[in-house]
């Protein structure tokens, strides 16, 4: 009788230990890919072309990538638009808060009775990074392009561009601080 009681007491302890070990190993496994992702440099980034590139549509989703000495934007199934990194004169980072869901969501919110759509709007917004480029063409004409990226990706891309030879002025870092202040005032 006594033996049986002792054995039943030990089984849950072992089970608990196994669960803890499994949880720890899972946590360790989950952490390691994230660390490796941080250490690798981003070359392909999903983003939205807001405006600027000659043959790309405004507000087009696509992939921003750095190939050799050029920054490329490719929309699925469309030809690639590219800019020589050496022609980039300045890079500005910013942040903006946008409502998610686009026009369908806006119409849906308008259809919610008793102003319920406004409450939805209160929570249906997301912060994005913006990357603004100034570059020159072969005639010396100044161009500008703006991309919207997921939060945290713009700075990584900017660093990559700078490493590849893009010019950045001191005012660019100031503009980042300013836009950060704008976003914080928006969220209040």
């Amino acid at each position: 009788m006594n033996r049986r009681i002792i054995s039943t007491r030990h089984t849950p302890d072992l089970f608990l230990l196994c669960v803890i070990l499994l949880w720890c190993s899972a946590a360790a496994l989950a952490q390691s890919p994230g660390q490796s992702a941080n250490s690798t440099t981003p070359v392909n980034i999903r983003g939205t072309h807001l405006l600027g590139f000659e043959n790309a549509k405004n507000n087009a989703n696509g992939t921003l990538s750095i190939q050799d000495d050029a920054l490329q934007f490719q929309k699925n199934g469309k030809p690639t638009e590219q800019v020589k990194i050496a022609s980039v004169q300045d890079i500005f980072l910013g942040e903006q808060s946008k409502q998610v869901g686009g026009t369908p969501m806006t119409l849906g919110k308008a259809a919610v009775p008793f102003g319920g759509g406004r409450v939805v709007s209160l929570f249906a917004h997301k912060k994005y990074d913006t990357l603004a480029l100034e570059y020159v063409d072969t005639n010396g004409g100044m161009h500008g392009a703006i991309f919207q990226l997921n939060k945290g990706q713009a700075e990584a891309l900017r660093n990559e561009l700078v490493a590849k030879g893009a010019h950045v002025s001191e005012s660019a870092s100031e503009s980042l601080k300013q836009s950060n202040a704008e976003v914080s005032s928006e969220s209040k």
């Binding site: 709007s121 209160l122 100034e134 004409g141 100044m142 703006i146 704008e182």
Partner: protein, 199 residues
Amino acid sequence: MKASNRVSLLLVAVAVVTINVAHPPQLSAENAASSSGTNSTAAQWSVQVDKVDPGDVALASSFQIAIYESLLDELSKTKRFKQVLRDGDRNAGDVSDLLILKTTVEKYSAGSETRRAVTTVSGATKLTVRSQLCARDGHIILERTVNGNVRFMGSNLRATHNLARNVAKAIKQSSLPEPSQSASHAAIDSNQVVVVELR
């Protein structure tokens, strides 16, 4: 059957000829009407768009770039100018009748898309700029104060699109002097400059 086919073919041929004969005079009349308007002289000017001057306003660089690019886009759409050139374009030196569009930001309120969506009445993004069309020697030919706002729907950057559209509209509606007069002679005295605020 064959006779009826021939008749129908003949009728189609007559219809095609009639349409072809009737349309060219209409098109030429349209062209004549458009060329006889106030835009006829301005069609020979070219314009170079300068970078946006933020002035004393703390305007984000993305907004400055968006205004600049939208201005180029909207001015091209008006078809009022022979060429629309970018800031720094080396080809501008070879263009004889060139105007320079200078844009200075006067007022800016950032607004918030979320506030607009929640309250409807607040959170508008407002931009006010002073646009000047200058001759090569710096004389101001046209000056306008133009607004661009987003009050209800759309992102904050949409204000720049609305602003550029209003600037292009203001330039399109104004009468510019003959480009055959050299740019220096065409300049109007500064006291003749009219400032119009578009709301």
